[in-house]
Amino acid sequence: MDQIILQILNGLDKGSAYALIALGLTLIFGTLGVVNFAHGALFMLGAFCTVTLSRILTLSHEVIDESRKDFLGNPLKVDVPYIYDWFGESTGAAIIDWAVPLSILFAIPVMIGIGVLMERGLVKHFYNRPHADQILVTFGLAIVLQEIIKYYFGANQIPAPAPEAFVGSFDFGAAVGFDAGAIIYPYWRIVYFCFAMVLIGAVFAFLQFTTFGMVVRAGMADRETVGLLGINIDRRFTIMFGIAAAVAGLAGVMYTPINSPNYHMGMDFLVISFVVVVVGGMGSLPGAVLAGFVLGILESFASMRQVIELLPGINQVVIYLAAIVILLTRPRGLLGRKGVMED
Amino acid sequence: MGILDVKDVGKRFGGLQALGDVNLSVAENSVHAIIGPNGAGKSTLLNCLVGKLIPDTGSVMFDGQSVLGRSPHEINQMGISRVFQTPEIFGELSVLENMMIPIFAKRDGAFRMHATANMMKERDIVENAEKVLVDMNMADKRGMNAASMSRGDKRRLEIGMCLAQEPRLLLLDEPTAGMARADTNNTIDLLKQIKDERDITIAIIEHDMHVVFSLAERITVLAQGTPLVEDTPDNIKGHPKVREAYLGEAA
C-alpha cells in the first residue's frame, strides 16, 4: 500500500510537467491547427529563464574587505552581488535564494513575447500548409533554439537549487499513519505539483469564464464560423500562442530544481509530450492533462523494482506501449473529440 | 428484382433516425433518381450502398449478392462506381495517369505488386485510358495536371474514371452541385450520352430538379429517412406529397 502511494506521488511531478507541456501543445493544435515541434524548446527556454535570472541576480563587483586577509596577508577581495548593495545583505541573499520562484515573474513576459514572436514571425505562415511542413519547420526551429542556448550556456547541466526553505523531504508516510520513512517526498515536488494544478486551473478558468476564452473555445470547435461572426480570431490566436508558450515556459522554470536544465531537455520532453497529447486525444484540453498524469504515474509504477524484475526494461518503454495500445484501440484518444484529425 | 435491391434499411445516429425502412429497387439499365429535401437521408442512404456506413437493419443486395459488411474497395470490385459531390480526382497527377489508375485497379484487383514494371509500357492500359479520354472528349488534356482544370472538366474526368472500370452501376452524388449552368448542362449531356451508348445502370442523388427531370426514368422521393413515393418523372411532377415535403422544408 505504501509502495503504491509512493509511486503515485512519484508520478505526480513528472506527470505535472507532461500535463503542462501537453496542455500548451493541445491549445496550439486545437486553436491554430498547428503541430508545434518546437514546444519542447519553449519548456527548455523557460528553464533557462531561471538560469538567466539567477545569473543576473548574482552579478557582482569586487570589494576589498579590509577586515579579512588572504593567505599572503593582503586584504581579501570578495565578490559582492550588486543586489546586496541595493537591498542590504540579508534581503539580497534571500532574493538570490528565491531565484527560482522569482523567475516566474521574469519568465511570464519573456515567454509570452517569445511565443507571440514565434507565431507572428513563423507559425502564422504555416496555417494553410500541410501538417508535415508544420512539423518540419518547427522541428528546424527547435534545433535552432536548442543550439543558441547551447552556444550561450554550454552543453553541461546548470544546477538551479530550490529555495532553502524547500530543501529536504516531507515524511508523507508518517503523516498518514505508515511507518516513518516509508513514503518520503521532497518538498519541492509538492510545490511543483501544486504549482502545476494552479496553472492548469488558471488556464481552464480563463478559457471557461472569460469572453476571450469563450471565443477561443468556439474557435477550437469551428474556426470558420467564428471568423464569419466578424471576430478577429487571428489576433486572439496569437495571444493564445503566447499563453501556451508561457505555460510551457513556467513548467520549465519550476522544473529546474528537480532536473538541472540542459540544452536538450526540451527534445527529451517533447517526444513524450506528443505521445501524451495523442493519448489524451488531439485537441482535448482535459484529455491532455489527464493523460499527462496517467502516463507520469504509469511510468513511475513501471520503474518499481518488482516490476522491472518481472519485465526488464518496461520503465523505458511503458509510455510508448501505452500510446500504441490506446491509439489502436481508441483512435481518438482518451477524451478526443470526433472529427479532429481523424484521418 | 432490380440490379440493386434495398430492403427495410434503417440507420440511427444516436437519437436521430436517419433512415427508417427504406425499400428501393433500381432496375437494370435504367436511370433512377433519388430526390428529397435537405436532411432527408439521401447521403446516408448512399453511404450505406458503398460501404462507408453499415445500416442497423435491412439488406442491400447488388446483383443477388449482399454488399453489407464489405469495404468500399470490395464493393467497387463488385461493379459499383461512385461519383462524389465535389469531384474526387488525383489533383497532383496528369489527366492520363488519373485515367490509368482505375484501369490498373480493375485489372489487378485489391492488391498486386508491380513494383518494377514500367507503367507506360503497359500498352493495353495506356491505350484503354486514351480511348476513354477520347470518349470523354478530353484527349487534348491528357498531359495536364488534373488540379488545374475547370470544375466541369474535373467532373467529366471523374465520371470518365468511373466509366473506365466498366461498372454495372454508376452512383452519382449530386453531380452538378455548385456548378455553373453551362457546366451543369454539359454534365447532363454527358450523362445522357453515357446512358444511350452503354449498358449501364445509373442511380443519381440530386437536388437540382432540372437535372433530375432531364435524366431520370424513375424517381424515388425521400423525406425524413423514408421513401414517400416512387414513380415516373411525369407522375412525380405535381404529386401532392412531394410538394408537401418540399414546401414543408421551405416553410
Partner: protein
C-alpha cells in the same frame, strides 16, 4: 536501357558516372593548398555520402510517394547495423552476409512496425513511428544489452566465433589482429592512392562497394517510381478517399511501400557496420530519423535525385562546417582591417565547428519556408529563369522526377 525511358536512363548514367569518378571530382583542390580542407574525396566521407544516399532514397520512397512522414526510420538503420555486426561476429568477416541479413532484419521489423503504424495516418502515423523508434532506442540501450552491447555498443572482437571456413572470411585473422571487414579477402579500408601532379586521388574498396549498392538502390527506386505500384502510391497520397472507391485496398500497398523503405534503411545500416564495424544505440535515436527527413526535404521530396543530393550536401556541410575553426576564419578575413576582421569572425563563429547544428537547423527552416521543393525545385527555378517564361510553364506541368 534497363527498362527505363530515355530521360531516366541518362539520369542513372550521369549519377553512375559521378559516383564512379567521385574520388577525382570531390578533390578539386591541390594537396597542401589553403582550400584543400574543402576537399571531400577521402574514403570515410565518400562512404557516408553514398550510405546516407541509400538511406534517403529509401525514405523518399515512403515519404515522396505516399506522403506518410515517418519519424522512426533510424530504428531500421540501427537494426540493420546490429544485424550486420552479428553476421560479422558469428559467421564471417565477409560483408556479403552482413549486408543481406541487415536488409532482411530491417524488413521484418518494418513489417511489424508498419503493420501497426499504418492503421493511422497523418500526424498519428508520424507519432506512432516515433514512439516505436524511441522504444527501440530505449530497449537497445538497456534491456537488449546482450544483443546490442548497450551503451558501449557492439564491435568485432578477436575471439568472435566466425564459424565459416577461413577462405570465406571465417575465423580469426592470421596476423593476430581483429580482422577487418572484407570482401573475399579485400579489406574495406584498403585504398589505392594515385598522385597526379599536386593532387592525390584515393580509390577505396569500401567506397566502391557502397557505391555499387547505391546505384542498385537508385535504379530500383527509379523502377518503383515509374511502376504501376508507384502510381498507386502516388494516387493514395493524392486522394486516399478516391482510391478506396476505386477498388484498391490501400493497406497492403502502403505496407509494402513501408517495408521496402525500411529495407533500404537496413541496407544502409548494414553497409555502415561493414565500413566501420562498431554500432551504438545512438544510431537509433530520433534525431537520426530527423536527419534523413532533412536530407530528403533539402534535396527535394518525391524527386529521384533529390535525396541523394540532400544526403551528400548535409554530410559534406557537416564535415566541412565542423572542421572550420576561428584560426581559419582569421586567415580568410585577414585581408580586412583588424576591427572588421574580428567582427566577421565573431559573427560567423556560432555557426561553425560545434555550432554546425545551428547552421543545420537554419538550413532546415530556410528550405521548408522558401523552397519546399528542395534543391531540385531550386534548380528548376534557376533553369526556368534562364529559359524565360515559356520554359517555366513547361516545368510546372511536367515536374521532373
Amino acid at each position: 536501357m534497363f527498362g527505363l525511358d530515355k530521360k531516366d536512363t541518362s539520369l542513372l548514367l550521369i549519377v553512375a558516372a559521378l559516383v564512379a569518378l567521385a574520388p577525382i571530382i570531390l578533390n578539386p583542390f591541390p594537396e597542401g593548398s589553403a582550400l584543400a580542407q574543402f576537399n571531400a574525396g577521402y574514403p570515410d566521407l565518400m562512404q557516408r555520402f553514398v550510405i546516407f544516399g541509400i538511406f534517403a532514397i529509401g525514405f523518399n520512397i515512403l515519404f515522396g510517394l505516399t506522403g506518410y512522414l515517418s519519424f522512426g526510420h533510424a530504428a531500421f538503420l540501427g537494426a540493420g547495423s546490429y544485424a550486420g555486426m552479428w553476421m560479422m561476429k558469428l559467421l564471417t568477416i565477409n560483408v556479403i552476409p552482413a549486408i543481406i541479413f541487415s536488409t532482411i532484419i530491417a524488413g521484418v521489423i518494418s513489417l511489424a512496425i508498419g503493420w501497426i503504424s499504418l492503421r493511422r495516418s497523418g500526424i498519428y502515423f508520424s507519432i506512432l513511428t516515433l514512439a516505436f523508434a524511441q522504444m527501440a532506442f530505449a530497449l537497445a540501450a538497456s534491456v537488449l544489452t546482450p544483443i546490442t552491447g548497450g551503451e558501449t555498443g557492439l564491435q568485432t572482437n578477436l575471439n568472435d566465433p566466425r564459424v565459416l571456413p577461413s577462405f570465406l572470411g571465417g575465423g580469426a585473422s592470421a596476423d593476430g589482429n581483429i580482422p577487418k571487414p572484407s570482401l573475399f579477402g579485400i579489406e574495406m579500408s584498403a585504398s589505392f592512392e594515385l598522385p597526379v601532379g599536386s593532387w592525390v586521388w584515393t580509390f577505396n574498396w569500401g567506397y566502391y562497394i557502397c557505391a555499387v549498392m547505391m546505384l542498385l538502390a537508385f535504379y530500383l527506386a527509379i523502377r518503383v517510381f515509374r511502376s504501376p505500384f508507384g502510381l498507386m502510391l502516388k494516387a493514395v497520397k493524392s486522394n486516399q478517399q478516391r482510391m478506396n472507391y476505386t477498388g484498391l485496398n490501400t493497406r497492403p500497398y502502403m505496407l509494402a511501400c513501408f517495408v521496402i523503405s525500411g529495407m533500404y534503411a537496413g541496407l544502409a545500416g548494414g553497409l555502415m557496420a561493414a565500413m566501420d564495424p562498431q554500432v551504438g544505440a545512438e544510431r537509433m535515436q530520433w534525431t537520426a530519423s530527423g536527419e534523413v527527413v532533412l536530407m530528403t526535404i533539402l534535396g527535394g521530396v518525391g524527386t529521384l535525385i533529390g535525396p541523394v543530393l540532400g544526403a551528400g550536401l548535409i554530410k559534406y556541410f557537416e564535415n566541412i562546417f565542423s572542421k572550420i575553426n576561428d584560426n581559419l576564419l582569421h586567415q580568410w578575413f585577414s585581408f580586412l582591417p583588424d576591427g572588421l576582421e574580428n567582427f566577421m569572425v565573431t559573427i560567423i563563429h556560432p555557426f561553425i565547428g560545434k555550432g554546425w547544428h545551428l547552421t543545420l537547423g537554419l538550413m532546415f527552416m530556410g528550405i521548408v519556408i522558401f523552397l519546399p521543393g528542395g534543391l531540385v525545385e531550386g534548380g528548376q527555378r534557376i533553369k526556368a529563369m534562364f529559359k524565360g517564361k515559356k520554359a517555366e510553364k513547361a516545368t510546372k506541368t511536367t515536374p521532373a522526377e
